[in-house]
Amino acid sequence: MRDSGTATLSLVYLARLREAFGAASERLDVPPGVTTVGTLRAWLAARGDPWATELAPGRAVRIAVNHDLADADALVRPGDEVAFFPPVTGG
């Protein structure tokens, strides 16, 4: 962390979202209000396109925190790996 109040997260983007965002991962400092999966998603969407379009409410996006699927209420903490991806299509 650079200064008190901000948290550094490792963000991972997979499949269609990796292509849409033009990156497989990024390390990002987020402000104090970003404490859950839901607030993180909204904060990323507020960066503008392509995040605004892909992460808009209603778009089917799955989010995992430290390799476990998480819902919007799940907490994110400094150092967490948070992954964003479309509904899965394996098998």
Binding site: L14, L69, A83, V88, G91
Partner: protein
């Protein structure tokens, strides 16, 4: 309880033999093999590329197998899923389950593939004459997984 993600192909006979042959309590082996179709959603598929999320994938598959073991009296289970470039007719996934009796093996095998298709982080991208496209998740897959949450477990 082997769970593997690999680019290379697998030999179904050899894998199922390895799963059961050291356990003499086993009286049933059920297996599911998923393969690449040459047509999907009305477009012909030349190649398919499978991507996954290393680290989460193995964890998710192991959790699904543990869930199956808590629901049915099975002896062991195996999941092998391929990633990378595949062609029509190639094998994608193998689920194998052993148990004393067939009912548990059938049910657990179906449960594992249903949950894999909705919870394990794999994505398919198809190369078609119209260009490359990501395969969209199907509502029918969610429905297939959801029925295992019903109060009376089918086949259980």
């Amino acid at each position: 309880m082997p769970v593997r993600v690999q680019t290379e192909d697998f030999d179904v006979g050899r894998e199922l033999a390895a799963l059961r042959e050291t356990d003499r309590s086993v009286g049933a082996v059920a297996a599911f093999v998923g393969t690449v179709r040459d047509v999907n959603d009305d477009a012909s598929v030349a190649t398919m590329t499978l991507e996954h999320y290393p680290g989460m994938t193995e964890k998710a598959l192991a959790a699904i197998v543990d869930d199956a073991k808590s629901r049915w009296a099975i002896a062991d289970a195996l999941v092998i899923h391929r990633v990378g470039a595949l062609k029509p007719a190639d094998q994608i996934v193998l689920v194998g389950v052993t148990s004393a009796h067939r009912r548990e093996a059938f049910a657990a095998c179906e449960f594992i593939i249903d949950y894999l298709k909705t919870r394990a982080p794999f994505w398919k991208k198809e190369e078609t004459p119209e260009g490359a496209r990501w395969v969209e998740a199907r509502v029918s897959d969610d429905d297939a997984a959801a029925r295992w949450r019903a109060p009376s477990v089918p086949g259980g």
